[in-house]
């Protein structure tokens, strides 16, 4: 089959690789009809995530048709259309039983789980196409993909709903939703969102659905700020104004009740500390650039809530622990428990309460995937989301 493979920094290629096969009883094979490039794929593209190997198949946002089902899967049937969560979860461990699917104890193979246990104290879950830290599972930017524990993850899509409406159930829609849910929004709340990429935009939409009074969006790409505006957010361009100053004034001196860091570890900033982070990252003293998160913590109101859907992987310094403690902030974070949120979000899509198609700026064939990465990386103002169609057919 054809698949997008990783070979090094800014080097991804569409190549012919072996077709996936059923390995375990609960596996299924999916013929991919739509797959997207995620902002977090750019971390792999930039090679800021360790444990990548040349030839790894990328992609963790995908959907398609079930073409083969393992003997142990009593739920899926060949021919069904499914969206697959990026998190691989067993459904039977302590964490899955509490719907904390992204903490699944059983989906990361025993050998690769050692790395995250060493880094984070406990082994982390498996995921598609996202380095060997998460298991080294081949991803979905391909014609076919093997889906482990396929009786737990994939959600069946009713007939008549086109791919583009439901594809983002795989990651960024539930990630934006969980980011807003983690804000514990009250009806009088003002929510500030750093980053108007896909997750930030979905977090804005979700915050309004969850009852936020106002949402203030922060970015520097005019087109992305315009999208935020069309969703009802007020906007701040951080190249124009001082963000904390603006938030103080726009909230009558109180500050936002909840703040979402939808940027993650490669935040753009123009202050001395971000330069320092870059230098330290270059000499491998510090891995994560956290300028955005520092600003989030300082700008949040006293007693406010911080939600971090943005991806971080390592350690940082100059963390404003004083502001966090003295102001009594609470923080919620984590990879998304996709399986938990999929059914309710699919229902809201069908009912027209959530729309995801506005985000897609580019639809390319799988063969054009490398160009998709390049433009998503280099033209962030224009390219808000790239969706790849491996079979070149738009499905309904």
């Amino acid at each position: 089959m054809r698949a997008l493979t990783w070979h090094g920094k800014h080097d991804v290629r569409v190549e012919t690789v072996p077709d996936p096969q059923i390995v375990n009883p609960r596996d299924a094979i999916i013929k991919v009809t739509s797959t997207a490039i995620c902002g977090s794929d750019l971390h792999l593209y930039d090679h800021t995530i360790p444990t990548m190997k040349a030839g790894d198949v990328l992609g963790h946002e995908f959907m398609g048709e079930v073409v083969e089902v393992g003997a142990g899967n009593k739920k899926l049937q060949v021919g069904q259309r499914v969206v697959v969560p990026f998190v691989i979860a067993c459904g039977q461990c302590f964490f899955c039983k509490q719907q904390q699917y992204s903490a699944c104890d059983n989906s990361n193979p025993a050998e690769t789980a050692d790395m995250s246990e060493f880094l984070y104290g406990y082994p982390m879950t498996g995921a598609f196409g996202y380095s060997h830290l998460t298991g080294g599972y081949a991803g979905g930017q391909a014609e076919y993909v093997r889906v482990p524990f396929s009786d737990i993850g994939p959600i069946v899509i009713p007939e008549g709903i086109e791919d583009d409406k439901v594809l983002f159930l795989s990651d960024i829609l539930p990630t934006g939703w969980m980011a807003a849910e983690n804000c514990e929004i009250d009806s009088n709340d003002i929510v500030a969102v750093w980053g108007c990429g896909p997750v930030g935009l979905f977090a804005i939409q979700s915050a309004f659905v969850l009852g936020a009074h106002r949402v203030i969006a922060i970015d520097h790409h005019p087109r992305r700020l315009d999208l935020a505006k069309t969703m009802g957010a007020e906007v701040i361009n951080f190249e124009e104004v001082d963000v904390r100053e603006a938030l103080v004034e726009m909230t009558g001196g109180i500050g936002p009740d909840a703040c979402i860091d939808a940027v993650g570890m490669e935040s753009h900033g123009f202050s001395a500390d971000s330069v320092m982070d870059k230098v330290k990252a270059a000499v491998k003293l510090v891995t994560d650039q956290t300028h955005g998160l520092r600003q989030v913590i300082v700008a949040c109101r006293k007693g406010g809530r911080i939600s971090i859907p943005g991806v971080y992987g390592g350690v940082t310094d100059k963390f404003p622990i004083g502001a966090l403690m003295e102001k009594g902030l609470s923080v919620k974070s984590g990879q998304t428990h996709v399986q938990k949120y999929m059914p309710q979000l699919l229902k809201m899509i069908i009912e027209g309460k959530l729309d995801t198609t506005f985000l897609i700026s580019h639809r390319l064939s799988l063969e054009e995937a490398a160009r998709g990465y390049k433009i998503f990386k280099e033209q962030q103002n224009e390219v808000t989301k790239v969706v790849l169609k491996p079979d070149g057919v738009t499905r309904h």
């Binding site: 390995v23 609960r26 067993c90 193979p109 025993a110």
Partner: protein, 194 residues
């Protein structure tokens, strides 16, 4: 290094968590250990009844399913078994072990017989998790590293350190018991046995 610790007197943690444990402290609990043996311990909670976990483990021919450095375990008699384990450079190490304690649903303890391969002993305990989360499985192993401390370094270079091996084996045991399969990203011909 200071004198090895025989008990974590000021902690509630098990001896296996001590910075410099004295494995000989386990003698008399069905294990046979000396002061400079290597001591390994690891616990995992498995959401299955302890009788089921005990029964699967007690049927030693099941062990190679999740213990990937074990080539085979064969029963010689009701209490004695013969173990063949992979060693560096494609070689194997073999020994006979006898069961010294066996409490159905709760405990299996064993030690190698005099004059065989690698002197080692160990125990696996199955306890109900007090909070209804399943069974806490605790493995404790002590062994005399082949060739002493130099042998231990060589073993680390050429094969998985036993501590790493035990950790990964227990993860696979949990996966197999909870999900019915062993997680892998490898193609079928290279996948782990399950």
């Amino acid at each position: 290094m200071s004198e090895p610790t025989s008990a974590t007197a000021h902690s509630d943690a098990p001896l296996t968590a001590a910075k410099n444990p004295n494995p000989a402290a386990f003698n008399g609990e069905g294990m046979e250990a000396r002061k400079h043996d290597v001591l390994i311990g690891r616990s995992v909670t498995i959401d299955q009844p302890r009788d089921k976990l005990y029964a699967f483990w007690r049927d030693f021919k099941n062990l190679p399913l999740f213990m990937h450095n074990i080539r085979s375990v064969e029963s010689v008699s009701s209490r004695v078994s013969h173990w063949v384990v992979e060693a560096p450079a494609g070689k194997t190490v073999e020994w006979d072990a006898e069961i010294v304690d066996d409490e159905p649903g709760a405990l299996i303890a064993w030690r190698s017989l005099e004059g065989t391969g690698v002197r080692n002993s160990g125990r696996v305990e199955f306890r109900d998790s007090p909070d209804g989360r399943g069974t806490i499985v605790t493995v404790t192993l002590v062994y005399d590293p082949p060739g002493g401390s130099v042998g231990k370094i060589i073993a680390k270079l050429f094969q998985k350190e036993p501590k790493v091996q035990a950790r990964q084996d227990l993860r696979r045991f949990k996966q197999l018991m909870e999900t019915g399969e062993i997680a892998t990203a490898r193609p079928p011909e290279a996948a782990p046995r399950a």
